[in-house]
Every structure is written in C-alpha cells, then in structure tokens.
Symmetry: C3
Subunit: 496 residues, 3 copies
Amino acid sequence: MTTPTNERHSSLGFGNLWAVVMSAEKPKNTSESVLLHPLDTAAAPEPELLCIFGTGDLGRSLGQRLLQSGYRVVYGSRRPTSCGPLPQGTQVMSHAAAAQSASVVFVCVHRENYEFLETLAPQLRGKVLVDVSNNLKKNLYPEANAEYLQRLIPGAQVVKAFNTLSAWALQNGPSDANRQVFLCGNSAEANQAVAKTATKLGFTVLDRGSLSAARELEDFPLQLFPEWRLPLRVAVGLIAALFFYVLIRDVIYAKVELGKDISFRIMVSLANKVFPIVSLIMLSLCYLPGVIAAFLQLYRGTKYKRFPDWLDRWMLCRKQLGLVALGLAFLHVLYTLIIPIRYYVKFRIAASTVLQMKENQTKEFNTVWAWQGDSFYSTGILGFGMFLLLGITSLPSVTNALSWREFNFIQSKLGYLTVFLCTFHTYLYGWNKFLRPSSYKWNTPPAFMLSLVLPTVVMVLKLLLLLPCVDRRLTRIRQGWERTDPKDDSRKSLLA
Amino acid sequence: MTTPTNERHSSLGFGNLWAVVMSAEKPKNTSESVLLHPLDTAAAPEPELLCIFGTGDLGRSLGQRLLQSGYRVVYGSRRPTSCGPLPQGTQVMSHAAAAQSASVVFVCVHRENYEFLETLAPQLRGKVLVDVSNNLKKNLYPEANAEYLQRLIPGAQVVKAFNTLSAWALQNGPSDANRQVFLCGNSAEANQAVAKTATKLGFTVLDRGSLSAARELEDFPLQLFPEWRLPLRVAVGLIAALFFYVLIRDVIYAKVELGKDISFRIMVSLANKVFPIVSLIMLSLCYLPGVIAAFLQLYRGTKYKRFPDWLDRWMLCRKQLGLVALGLAFLHVLYTLIIPIRYYVKFRIAASTVLQMKENQTKEFNTVWAWQGDSFYSTGILGFGMFLLLGITSLPSVTNALSWREFNFIQSKLGYLTVFLCTFHTYLYGWNKFLRPSSYKWNTPPAFMLSLVLPTVVMVLKLLLLLPCVDRRLTRIRQGWERTDPKDDSRKSLLA
Amino acid sequence: MTTPTNERHSSLGFGNLWAVVMSAEKPKNTSESVLLHPLDTAAAPEPELLCIFGTGDLGRSLGQRLLQSGYRVVYGSRRPTSCGPLPQGTQVMSHAAAAQSASVVFVCVHRENYEFLETLAPQLRGKVLVDVSNNLKKNLYPEANAEYLQRLIPGAQVVKAFNTLSAWALQNGPSDANRQVFLCGNSAEANQAVAKTATKLGFTVLDRGSLSAARELEDFPLQLFPEWRLPLRVAVGLIAALFFYVLIRDVIYAKVELGKDISFRIMVSLANKVFPIVSLIMLSLCYLPGVIAAFLQLYRGTKYKRFPDWLDRWMLCRKQLGLVALGLAFLHVLYTLIIPIRYYVKFRIAASTVLQMKENQTKEFNTVWAWQGDSFYSTGILGFGMFLLLGITSLPSVTNALSWREFNFIQSKLGYLTVFLCTFHTYLYGWNKFLRPSSYKWNTPPAFMLSLVLPTVVMVLKLLLLLPCVDRRLTRIRQGWERTDPKDDSRKSLLA
C-alpha cells in the first residue's frame, strides 16, 4: 500500500487508488510519481494503527491479537487513566482522540452504550466503524445493532464483522468453527478494509453484502440448530410413542399373557424394532412433502402460488429429516449385526440344537425361507448403501461440487429408489406375518406394519405423478405455464 | 451506495470510487468532499433499480426474488402492455426505455431471440448485461451464449451468471446445491457489480475469470456425472460378467452335476463373491495407470511428451474408480457381517453340530486354520479401514485442507498399502484352494483368482519402480531432465 | 498498483478504472470517454503478455499452461539463444528485455539465484513479481523467499503465489489437492492481478493478506501432517505398550501356566483388546486438557494468563487425538462384528453345544447376564454412533456450516456424553471381573481396567466443574473477570 497524502485513508484499502488520482492531476510527471511511489511502498512501512473503543474483555482480546499480527493499537476509553490492564504496547486515549488517530475503529462496546457514540459523530465522520457486538437473545431490539450504529453516526461507514467468532478465537486466531469472518456493510471499500485486517489475522472472509444482512449475522452466533429442531422433535416423539407400543405388545404382553419376564429385550431387541421403524417413517416424511407440493401445483394449475406455511416449513427441513433417519438406520444396522454375539441368541441357538438332537428329528431345509431371508437382508443392505450415498452427497462440500441436475438426480431419483428398497425390505420382513393371526396380539397390528403406511402412500402417489399425462402437465406448470381460469383471480395477488 | 452523478455507474460497484475521483478535481477541499460523501452514503438510499429483459418464467422468478431482496425492478418487454402477470411493484416498459433506466440488465431471453438485442446496442452501451441463459444440449452452437451476446453488443459488458441455479432457487433463494453463483466476464467491475447483487440475494459467488469461461458455465448445469460414467460402466460390466461366471460355476454347476437347487444363494452368497472381486479389480485399475505412466516416461526419457489419450482419460477418472470400488467394498463388508444371521448358515451350523454329535466324533482344533482365518479377517478389516481413509480424504473439503505433499502421501503411499492389504486378504482367502483340484469346476478357475491378476501385476510393477536405479532415473525425469536423443525430434513438437 | 502511463497495464484488471480516471480529467466529455472505453474493452483484445524468468522445468510447465489458457508468454533468460526447448509460440529474450515487455513477471528461479535480479531493479520497477519458489527444507533462510525478493527489488510489487501447487498441476491445470492458489502480497492491486491469472488458469484463489504471510505459504508444501504427529505417536506408543501387556497376560500366560498355544489369538482377539483400550484412552486424552485448563484458570483467577506450552500444544491437537481414537473405535467395531464368523468361535460354540448334550445338563437362562450383555452392546453402539457424529462434524465443510455455539454444543456437550457412554460400555464389560481373583493373572490387572483410569478422572473432574459454585466462578473468569490479588503482579506482564 502506498503512503497516502491523507493518512486517514491508509487503511481503507484504496490508498493506491488515491495515488492514482493524485497523479492524474499532474499528468506531466506521472511517470515520476509512479516510479517513486512503489519505492516507498516496499520500504518496511510503519505498522497500521487501529483503534478499539472499549477496554472490556472483547477489546482486550482483540487488541492483543491485532498487536500480535503486526498492527499498532490505540484504545478509546471513557476513563483513559483508570481502565484496567491492557495489552502492553497499546495506548489509551479519550474516545475522541483515539478516533482521530486511526481510520478503522472497532466498537467493542455493548449496544446499550452506543448512544454516547453519537456525540463523537464529528470525529467518526468518514471512518470505518466495525461493529463486533452480539445480543443475548434474538429480536431484543427492532433493528440490528450495526444498523442502529449506522443510524447514530450516518457519517461513518459501519461494517458488521467478527461477531460470529468466540472471544477465544479473537484472542488466539482461527480454530475449528472459528475460521470464517462474515462481514457486511454498505461501503464496498470499508468492507474490503475490514476484510484485509481479518485476512491478516488468519481468518477467511465471507462478504455477505450490504448492512441489511447485519441482523442475520447477529442472529448467527445465537442459533442452536434451528432447522434440526422439528426433525429431532419428530424423531423423539415417534421413538417414544413406538417404544411404548412395542413395550406393551412385547414385554408386557409376555408378562401378562405368558407369565414370562423378557424385559431384558428392551436394550437391544426393542431398540432394534423402534429405530428402523422410525427411520423408515422419517425417510418417507422426507419425500412426502415433495409429492404433496406436486399435487397442490396440479390442483392449482400454477407454480406461482405460494405453498401453505406448514408445507414450506416441512419442505425446508427435508434434509434434516433424512439425516436423522439415516442416523437411526445406522443404529439399526449395528443393532442387527451384533445379534449373533448376544448371550440370549447364543443361548437360544444352543438350546434349539440340543432340542433338535434330543427329539432326533431332522429339520428339512426350506428353500423359500432361504430366499425370503436372503432377499430381506440384501434389500436392506442395498437400501442402506443408497441411503448412505444420499447422506454423503448432502455434506456441504460434496453438494457444492454437484450441479443442480446432479444433486436432483441423486436426491430425487436415487432417493425414491432408497424409499423403495427400504420399504420392500420391510415388506419382506413382514412376509407371512400379515396373515398370521398370532401377529395381532391384543388385536393390535405389529409395529412394523405401522411403519409401512407412509412409505406406501408416498410410493403410490409418486407412481401417479409418473403417469405420462400427469407428468406432462406438471412439467408444463413448472416451466411457468398457468391454467387460465377466469373465476380465479387469486393468482395475481400472490405475486405481490 | 450513493446515487452517483452519473447514474449509469451506480450499480458498478465503484460509486465511491467515483466520489473520490470527483474530489480529486478539487484538491483544495478534498478532505471536505471526502468527509461529506460518506454522509450521503449512509443515508438510507433509494433501492437500486435493476432491469430484466423478458417476462417469461425466469424473468418473473428472478424479479420476485430481487424485489424481496430490496431492489427495484423494471421489465423490458416487446409488448409492455400485454405481457402477463408480473410481480407486484415492478414496472414494464419497452426494452429501450427499460435499458436506459438501469445500469444492470438481466437478459432472461432465449438465445434464439438474442438477435433483436442488436438493435438496442446504443441503449445498452456501457451497461452490464447479465446472461443467465442455458441451452438444452451441449455444443448446440459454435460459441457460448454469453460470447454471442458480447459479439452482438460489443459496447456492453456481458457477465455470465446465475445460469447454474434452478428456477426454484432463483425465486426462493439459496438451498442445497443452489448456494453458489458462478460468474465470468471480461470486466472486473461488471463482474463485481453482479457479484454484489448475487451476494445480496444470499448466494456465494465464485468468479471464474474472463468470458472465455462462459462455455464451461453453460455446460455445467447440463452435466450428469460425466467423470463417473466410465467407472460406472466398468463396474456394471464387470459385475454382470462376473455374476454370470459365478452363477454358472456355482448354481448351474450344482444343478447339473450334483442335482441340487442352490439358487437362493444368488441373493447373498453370489453378491458377496461378485462385489469384493469387482472392488479389488477396480482398486487396482485405479493404481495401474500411474504405473503405466511411469514406465512410459522411463521409456520415452522425458516427461514433456503428452500421454496417449486413453491413458489421460484413464488417469482422470482414478478418483471415481476408487470411490466405486470403495462402495462395493462397503457392500462386501455388510454382506459378510450378516452371514451368521442368515437362515441358511444357522441351519447348516445346527445340522453340522447334530451330525458331529451323532457320529460321536471329536473334531480337533486346527491352529493353522485359526491363524489363516483370523489373518484373513484382520487384513480385510485393516484394508477396508485404509480404503475408507482414502475415501474420506477425497471429500472435497478434506482434500482442500491438505497440502499437495500430504495428499500425495495418502493417495500414493497409503493407497499402495491398501492395494497390498486387500490383495493379501484375497490370497489368504485362496490359501489352499489354489492347489485343490476341486476348485477348478468344469476346468475354470474360481472367480477370486481372476480378481488377483491385476492387483498382482500392479504390485510387481510398482516394486520394479521402487528399485533404486529405476527410481533415481524416474525422479530425474520428473524434475524436468530429458534424455537427449539426436534421432528423436518428436520432443519439440509436443511442446506446441 | 500505481498509475500506469503505459497501456501495458490495461490488463491488470483496472483498465476501466483508468478510463474513469481519464474522464475525470476532462469532466466535460466524461460520458463520451466512458462510453467509448468499454467498446474497446469488449472488442476481442490481443491476449495479455506475461513474462517468465527462468527456462527450467517450472518455467516450461507454467509457460505451457499460460499459453493454453490464452496468454502470450515471453521468457527471460541469461542465455536467450541456448536455453533448451520451450513451449512453441513463446519468445525468449534477455531478462531486461522480457521484463520491459510485460507487467507481470513470474520468477521461476531458485532463491539461490535471486541476487542477479537486483541488477534488473530499474526494469522491474512498478512490475508485479510473482514468486513461485519453494525451499527444500523449513527455516533454511532467515526470511521468506518472497520477502527477500521484495527487499532486493523494493520498486516491484512482489506477490507470493502458485508455490503450493505441484509442477504437474501448474502444467495441466487443477486436480484434487491442487485446486487452490494461495497468494499474498503487500499491494491489493498486484494480488488481484495475479488472482485474475490464477482464476483464468482454472484455480480457486485464497488471498492470505500481506507479504508477511509468505513464510507460511512457503512452509505449506513442505508440511506432512504436523498436527497429526503427536497424536499418531501417542497412538503407536500406546498400541505397542498395550499389545505387549496383553500378549504377556494372555498368550504367554497360557503357554507358561496352562501349556496351551493360543498364539493364533493375536490376529483378532488381541487386536480387539488393544484397539478399544487405546481408543478410550485417546478419547479421554482429548477431553482432559480442557478440564485441566479450566482448573488452571480457576486457580490463577484469570483467563489472560498464558497456558504452559505443553498444555497449549496438547489442546491444539485435540481434534486429531479424537479422530485417531475414532479410527481405532471403528476397527474395534469391525473386529467385534466378525467374531461369530471366526473358525475359532464357531468351533468353540459347536464344542460347547456337544458337551452340553453329552452331559445332558440343562443350562438355565440367566436374565442378569442377558441384561448385562445387551446393555454392554447397546451403550457401545450408542457411544460409537455419537463418536461418529463428532467425527462428521469435524469435517471442514461441516464445521464451517456450524455457528460457534453449535460446534461447541456438539464437541463439548455431546463429546462428554460420548466419553460417558464409552466408559460405561467398558465398565459393563468389566462387570463382575473387577472382584474375580482370576482376572488378576500374575497379579496384574486386566488391560481394560487400565483404560478406565483416564476417562474416569476426566468425568470426575468435569462433574466438579459442573458444580454451580465452581461453574459460576469459571464463567465469570471466562467473561474477563480477574481476581485482584495485590501480591500477584504477574498479571500485567502476560498481556505483553
């Protein structure tokens, strides 16, 4: 960077531009000034001076890091003489004096105390103000902190940045989830100046555009898996409900009707009934909204009509629904694979072999059972393999490497194939249990039958959508065609 | 951003630059004008006006999204009075009038209709034209749509962008595979202006350089796993061929020669023969081209000679070959682990125990068998673990975090270790089957022997390359050394 | 970058800026000049000319790629007439002449030969010098190559770039671990000019800030998993130590005391003892430093005091410790799941069934054993599932998608849950072995007991930290509060 005539701009990232402009004024000795200038540039320049308002924890952490990265730091404080220990090598001044000395000011002050900054408006005019603040809760204030700051000091260029980092990362540099600095602001130059500092501190910068994105950035560090809540609640609800259903039908039924205590089956057998059932239900919940949306579009004859809110929200958490289902399917696989090393299973097999020996009967090998069993396992394995593929392609870096057409092919085509394989796997499990009266203990259907309802519905509806006549119409609607219906004037309003 | 004196530039992302330039004219009050300017900047500015040519589906979707993101939108249409419903709050004008009112124009028109834009050249001079078009097929036209547009209107700055997004994403914002906006164009300022809009719409921008990249961007949404086709075809071909081979040797042989129906074994036993065999073959196909390339370089005595096309193409799909092989190895693991819960296996074990009892024989524990079996499983598990490690490091985000040396260490050193472990695992499976005549039913070798050919070749060739004298020469060639051969003048031509 | 008088600079990405500046001089016909300029820009421009110093391997590879990407290339060489074959279509000149003809110069020369460049200082003034060099070892020189180059030619703008790519990637374009070009330099304009070229060559650019980052970039290609070394050494050391411990207690004990040869158990049984034990120890090593750090902060009464070096280094490799532990846990899972298909296990089960038959005894089903066994497997499966979740969230792209709070929730809350589940799993394995004298062969405790020490310590310490009074104080300290201790003046010094 050049040594700009006006020191104030040195950190704004367009010092060189300034040099260009200055030389443009004197066209006669342009080349001279050009040649001389880079010379200065290369000479070890005095480190840039940055200003921090606030000597609290955040200010201290940030200041220490800035010092370590080769900046000079000056603090602005209400009580410059009694503000507690600060990183060695920094200066403390009044706010006004500190602001005057640097062109970038980090505001490490709570939003509640922003008001006093208004009095510094003259000193802050033309400065880059970096708002690093966060709130304790969402929607505490009507406007974002950074927007409030910009309103207070319209003459400054407010940039929202660094607020998504932990104080630890601010002090010690990037680590794990603290590698990216999101920033936004109305001035591209101010954004770039802050981006440069963030890069020098070792962070990767993501420019999120104008200051209207500040609210989003301020909400980011407060969020705790917002889009995972609904799917997790659905999962927990279904697991609890099915656990009790299976507990009653298996353990309590055995106790009451047969007088046997098989409560030890809770740990593995019951878990291995509940997990796959909930997994299959959630997998179909993942594909159901898409089918509903298609029918809604067909019914309405337009794609421009907004979906009802519940459907919108449902569609937005499909990925999470699917991933929770995949996690449960994974547990199901492990629970299934440990079956033969369980004490209970080994005991039963030995007992059955001994019995077979004692009764001296020769069991016939049943080829149909072998076919059924092996097909059951094979569809399960293939279904789980496909499911895993869906999961891998939903990793952010894999998704980003795919074109939209490729992503759609996997999540839609291969997704329905997964639903089919997993449903078929469950039907094969059922096999002859559907017609056997002993399946219906206390007149209730076995739990696996409950899990078949939704995926069967999804597959039937999807097959309907694949009928050529339906498919053709849907394709036209999705290409923008609308059914013109003279009586229906709701169409226009939704474009609002 | 300000409303600059020259409205045309307002969206080009250098409004502030303009302010600086203006102030450069009046050096006396520079500081004043600079200080005053940001003041305007901060004042809530009138939303920027963007122009959209075309009122079709794409234009409507994009317009709606731009409105929601705080832009004002004006449509340019051939028939401004009868162009169907448009998002509320937008205006429709003639193309000429619309173009005049904004500095960025989104061309949401099919390439077939670009020609009429030529008549608007005067109005579009100096504007940023965003080409969002896609074609239905690759190579439909001799030049990219965006380059064609640039040729039609040389006075405008054409930026190719947004074409990789689905219409849904354009209307509703980023989701899954629609998070990144690729753009390219000859003017850095125009690119940045479009990047700014894309960022405000919530997308992440990837600048792909000059307009010569437009063809690539236009081909992107049409592609459906181009680099996966060859590996998948190889996999399907091998699976089919080996399935029939195993089917004949196992099921049909048993039927014909022994009169037994073991067709039920198709579902699991046969699958669990075919998958690991194809997996091992494909894993060695993944390392074979590297070895061939090394021998070719040794033979030619230079690294500057281009490889034959088939070798080039083969080397480019090594990653995909390896990942398909990993998928098959994963299926092999699952098929193996469910063995003990299969009806057929449980039946056979019980029968054998009963038989053992009846004949009152005491089987001797065979330590050699125990060693062989356990080594077989252990090498399999370790090989699969290493294979999985190779797979994980080929995830884009993991690969990006590695230095070239690290990536090479894993994919090459650990890769050959994986080949060794998996091949050794298969040899241990063979064990004494190689010399047993009963292995060669109908005079054909067992399928697993077929799978050993390629990996053995790869390992032998690799060992040759590791010989110090060969290795030294290869290293020199790869550092740029060339064997000077007076008769060989093909060397120079390949540098062309 | 400075003001170029000379058209030569038009390709540096601010040709249009120049147009604006020029128009600023003549305010009367601004619009005209602005309108004319883009016209030229758009007209198919002559390809930009780039200069490469050095005709070695790197220079040739880079030159070939630049040519293919549409640049013109001129080489600077000491002996322009006898410098060996170069890509067809390029020119070779003296260094001085070549430097004069282009504005960007790639220095493909070994650092040892940089000195001669000093004589070219006048010709290189104002040029962008791209330093692509690497050293053979770290810390070979007191300053980074690029900084040395900048010192030699202060009038040029040195940009460090392309050095992290393999020569293969420089010649053939991006592939796998060669997709990103890291660059750094003191001039934002020079950086951008180089970034533009890198983008055109197909790479993704990551700007790492000022030239002070050059050392880091030069060290990058030399590194071979530096942060994995300590964890891998710990893992190998623990595996070796425990292997011998288990070997002595199991195999040698059986040989010496019982006269039985069970050495075949090494391959699976011993591995499946060592791997889970080391995995659990390393998992607790992953959470131990965090607990120690908290107690240290409590003891010191401040968070501003730097941790001892050993603790710092330990904390920095927690992620790697955890991932190695996960890998071992994965092997443990596979080794466990193949248990029932092992020859040894099948033999033993058959023998036990036969024995049971012979002795005509009826074994009673032990419900307590069933509970214990099933709980043992269930906690193991759940623990492994949680562990896998921790592993997935540490994939870079997943970590980046999480807010700091979310990452913390998973790695801390769910992490301690994982430690608890895995420790409980091991206690369930122990069950009644703790009190059984036969467990203590040769008066040594079983290996699994050793693995329980550390996780138990971690959990007890963590529970102490969760006590409300301790937790409150720790929270205050982490918010910046410091215990004021008149005798303790070490506090200030650490802020240095």
